[in-house]
């Protein structure tokens, strides 16, 4: 029996399973009871510094016990969690903090900014590092605060979280999710993954993206264990950790599985998992088959499809249908209605290609402070996903592309317009275009076409500039100089020509 919200569910589990391990981070194990005690303290601290229900609190910290503690502490006081990418540059973080009007910022790397920049933010700041900057509190102060047991009574309508996505235009958009949105999606996922308290998932996905977010909350909602693992830079270590801590599940994007097969002993000695989940972009048929052949025979692979605006998951492919429906994104979740529509938003019959529309209790409330963008994608309760596809006769979804130019690099969804805006600020750049080109491991990698004077100095200046304003995963790996860019009569860049 589930509570109606995730914080309610957490309270229930932390009472009924106080001694069960909630989080494993290297050798550190934190039980649900222990985590609840930490959350209570930090929540009390948030109250002391004036965080009230509905206030936004930004988390700019890596996956960790502290991240999860802060996350639930924000919910304890009725706040809205805004998780931001810790790899982002300071100016990007600053922009998003201003966009969501955050009242407090929790940050773990002060090298994001200098003292002056941090002070300019004029909001409550807490850092995980020891720091002597005036006005910035230390995390230890929050962890030592006297705890109370008063939790804000969130309902399904209470706003819970803002997750920023790259969006289809230049500026990131804050997807606003309610507790009802999250709980509904979590319950549907638990149902098809058949999760129980016996499950322990090894997680490498960043919690600030919706996929990692849903991995955390689905496993917490059944009282399972989340094992926090390091970077995918060292795949063999991840596989070793799976074995050491006897993980029953693993969630990844196509590049993660590709790395395991190419750069670890997974194929020779597959870990004894009960389930693997794959989302974050389509995984090629060849890789899917190779993964299945290289895994334990009783390990189930769940191919899934979703979008942040739909809370995370939209559809899943039952593992027993994987061979028969290879290449399909599966059937919609229990509480998700799915239709394929034409450009006039009219439903199309099975077999015909169109845009994927979805509806249900897990669809977002809208984009934070951006009514115009919300209206463009939310139509009479339906979410216009921007993804193109068709349904077969049995209702299985097949995706065939996107309406937008979004690029998927590993786990990251990247909007080329955002990168072009940054590149075009350079004086010697007349214009630019960024596209995704095929990459064996990452799915896609970034190539930038630059119209401007070609020289080694300019190339170095361009790379420096990108490094200053963009996180590593958004820096184009390939630069190509061009005399001009192919365009339509209305001046829009013909990206498909650049790809050929």
């Amino acid at each position: 029996m589930y509570q109606s919200t995730l914080p309610g569910q957490f309270l229930s589990i932390s009472e009924s399973q106080a001694d069960s391990i909630a989080l494993q981070s290297n050798a550190e194990q934190v039980s649900y009871g222990d985590l609840k005690r930490r959350v209570d303290k930090v929540g009390s601290y948030f109250k002391q510094i004036g965080i009230e229900p509905g206030d936004r609190v930004a988390l700019v910290i890596d996956n960790s016990v502290d991240y999860v503690t802060a996350f639930y502490a924000i919910w304890k006081v009725g706040g809205i969690v805004v998780s931001l990418n810790p790899q982002a540059k300071f100016h990007e973080i600053e922009k998003l903090i201003q966009q969501c009007e955050a009242k407090c910022l929790l940050i773990d790397k002060l090298n994001h900014a200098n003292t002056e920049q941090l002070n300019q933010l004029s909001i409550n700041m807490i850092t995980l590092n020891q720091c002597d900057i005036n006005g910035v509190a230390n995390w230890s102060t929050a962890l030592e605060c006297e705890a109370d047991n008063n939790w804000y009574s969130a309902t399904e309508d209470t706003l819970a979280q803002i997750i920023y996505t790259s969006g289809t235009t230049g500026n990131p958009k804050g997807v606003l999710l309610s507790h009802g949105n999250l709980m509904c999606n979590v319950k549907d996922i638990i149902e098809y993954l058949e999760l129980t308290r016996e499950d322990s998932v090894l997680n490498v996905l960043p919690f600030h993206y919706c996929y990692g977010n849903s991995v955390l909350h689905t496993h917490f909602s059944v009282g399972g264990k989340v094992i926090l693992a390091g970077s995918m830079a060292f795949p063999q270590e991840i596989v070793n950790t799976m074995r050491e801590y006897k993980a029953t599940g693993f969630s990844g994007v196509p590049s993660t599985f590709s790395l395991f097969l190419a750069r670890s002993d997974w194929p020779q000695d597959p870990p004894p998992l009960r389930y693997m989940t794959q989302a974050g972009g389509p995984m090629g048929k060849e890789l899917t088959q190779k993964l299945l052949q290289s895994s334990q025979p009783d390990t189930k692979l769940y191919v899934m499809y979703g979008q942040t605006e739909a809370c995370a998951r939209i559809s899943w492919l039952p593992p027993h249908k994987l061979d028969e429906k290879l290449g399909s994104a599966g059937i919609s979740l229990t509480h998700v209605d799915l239709e394929i529509r034409d450009e006039n938003a009219q439903a199309l019959p099975n077999g015909q290609k169109g845009e994927v529309y979805v509806k249900g209790p897990s669809i977002m409330q809208g984009y934070w402070n951006n009514a115009e963008a919300s209206e463009q994608v939310l139509l009479n309760g339906w979410l216009k996903t921007g993804d193109l596809g068709y349904l077969d006769d049995e209702g299985y979804l097949y995706l065939v592309g996107r309406n937008s130019d979004m690029i998927k690099v590993g786990a990251h969804r990247i909007n080329p317009l955002e990168l072009e805006e940054v590149i075009n600020k350079l004086g010697f750049v007349q214009e630019s275009a960024v596209i995704g080109i095929e990459d064996e491991i990452l799915g896609q990698k970034l190539r930038a076409f630059i119209v401007g004077e070609e020289s080694r100095e300019n190339l170095l200046a361009l790379k420096k500039h990108c490094n200053e304003y963009l996180p590593t995963h958004k820096i184009p790996r390939e630069i190509q100089w061009a005399e001009q860019l192919p365009k339509t009569a209305s001046g829009k860049i013909k990206r498909y020509l650049l790809k050929s």
């Binding site: 970077s231 830079a233 060292f234 790395l259 690099v409 491991i441 790379k463 490094n467 995963h473």
Partner: protein
Amino acid sequence: MTNVATNNEQLLRDFILENYLFTDDQSKLNNADSFLDTGILDSMGILELIYFLDEELSIKVEPNEMIPTNLDSINNLLAFIEKKQA
């Protein structure tokens, strides 16, 4: 330090400085800096580093050698290369 080791060090430093720190200012990279902790490289960067080791130094990194102790700083790389070339 032997000439070979010195050459390797310079080769690696230049590769990191030029491709990830976008500078030729040698003071920007400390040989003990962890690539991942300092954000110089991410998982993509580590892969590119492995391709670089293969192409430039003919060093094949086996899956079980893909660990921070071998790859996560200039010093670690130099020790790893020395071991592989021994």
